[in-house]
Amino acid sequence: MEPLFHNVRELVERAEKENKLISEIMIEQEIMITDRPREEVMKQMDRNLTVMEEAVEKGLKGVHSVSGLTGGDAVLLQKYMESGNSLSGDLLLDAVSKAVATNEVNAAMGTICATPTAGSAGVVPGTLFAVKNKLNPTREQMIRYLFTAGAFGFVVANNASISGAAGGCQAEVGSAAAMAAAAIVEMAGGTPQQSSEAFAITMKNMLGLVCDPVAGLVEVPCVKRNAMGAANSVVAADMALAGVTSRIPCDEVISAMYEIGQSMPSALRETAKGGLAATPTGKWLEAKIFGGAVVGSGQ
């Protein structure tokens, strides 16, 4: 069965023509493709939202991974915000801390909802639960946030990639951040076109990001990349809502991301052989965690 949209242009055009939200087009497509009643589709997303909520709550209480590489940063950020001295503002730091919280739970082998992947699972919920405090959405609007993010992710997954092994971190955290930016715009009352601009602006600033996990663990630098992905998406959403547009259309940015992923060497695509994984400290940490010869002093 043919989907209602193959790319962002078709998605935005359909939303505009039918005077519907992007989330609504995604919901309609899901009902059509999977032949399930609306109620069931909404319920499943509601359950995913609950998993996200629980992961954020758990992370904000403080978790640590088995390797000891990550954990506790979400708590540090929340405490810092309470001090009232934050420079970048509470909403931004709240998004960052909640993205970190989710990924700290993920690294600790906790239960999370992949959005679009586990390694990039922090950005969409992180931004959602931060923006929530400002926009006071209904539960349904929060569920819709995930459908809007999903609509853009659907295009990326089918036209490019959401796999770090195939396309680098730009395909994972890059996609997640761009998806979140588009969803923030819709929740804040922006137009479908503005969602697409926010997506493009975010993705453009994630292009080229490599996947270079230290010791092959989804921890360093993944957790902090989620943090910055969240920050990137909030700022890009504000830019789009202010009327800033992307000179390169959304679908072309997605194609560029795909092309860059294709030409990325394998060492920088989730093999833990290049980038930060190949630094002296990265190597040292790997040897420390998995045993084996420690090459160089590292720390």
């Binding site: 493709i33 992949a114 390694g119 999903g150 092959g216 663990l217 989730e270």
Partner: protein, 220 residues
């Protein structure tokens, strides 16, 4: 379109840390077990590409073993699957390979028990989604998301028509079908993705058809 549902993007709910290396790996293991039809007694798991490089860090190993024990992606028992495998008496071995494969996240699982042996190649294409690319040496494309029937048969005329007729009789619609053979006139394989679950009655009837060697189903 490789990704059909929004829940391929916003989902799955899973035990961390990696959708491709943990959730996808668990799913490959689980499809292998489904195809085998029962708890295997042993498994040799060959890992390629990024799977081979980072399987320990991503818990790919415990996830595949969890899948072989029939655990879903969000099953907490994935964390202790090695111990659980010992309890049910399944031996396993991981073999990281250096050979080149088309997709960076590839696993080949050879498994069996006293009666039978099976081999399967699966790839994890991102976000927890997988494809099964080879079964017992036959190349195939199987998303693992629809109920499917696998029919091993002799490469003779009428086999395909008989199977199709039988499914028609039970009003089972074929969504996707592939037929392949290793050599003309020898063993062949039909892979049939259907819209409904297929019950035992139909399976038994398929197995009784002439020139059919083995019939297996993968439930949704």
């Amino acid at each position: 379109m490789k990704f059909k549902s929004v829940f391929d993007i916003i989902g799955p709910v899973m035990i961390g840390p990696s959708s491709s290396h943990t959730a996808g790996a668990a799913r490959i293991g689980r499809v292998a077990r489904d195809l085998f039809g029962r708890q295997p007694k042993w498994a040799k798991i060959h890992l390629y590409g990024s799977f081979a490089e980072t399987y320990k860090g991503h818990s790919t190993d415990v996830a595949i073993v969890g899948g072989l024990l029939d655990y879903d992606t969000f099953d907490e028992r994935i964390k202790t699957s090695f111990e659980e495998a010992q309890k049910v008496g399944m031996e396993f071995e991981f073999i990281p390979e250096t050979g080149h494969v088309e997709h960076p996240n590839t696993a080949r699982i050879v498994l069996g028990d006293d009666q039978a042996e099976m081999s399967l190649m699966g790839i994890s294409i991102g976000g927890g989604k997988i494809e099964i690319t080879e079964l017992n040496g036959f190349p195939l494309r199987l998303s693992g998301e629809h109920p499917a029937i696998l029919v091993v048969h002799d490469d003779r005329s009428g086999c395909i028509a008989n199977v199709a007729n039988c499914l028609y009789k039970y009003d089972i619609n074929i969504g996707h079908m592939e037929v392949s053979r290793k050599e003309k006139g020898r063993m062949a394989l039909m892979v049939i993705e259907v819209d409904q679950n297929v019950d035992k009655e139909v399976m038994d009837e398929l197995a009784e058809l002439p020139n059919i060697t083995q019939v297996t189903r993968i439930a949704d």
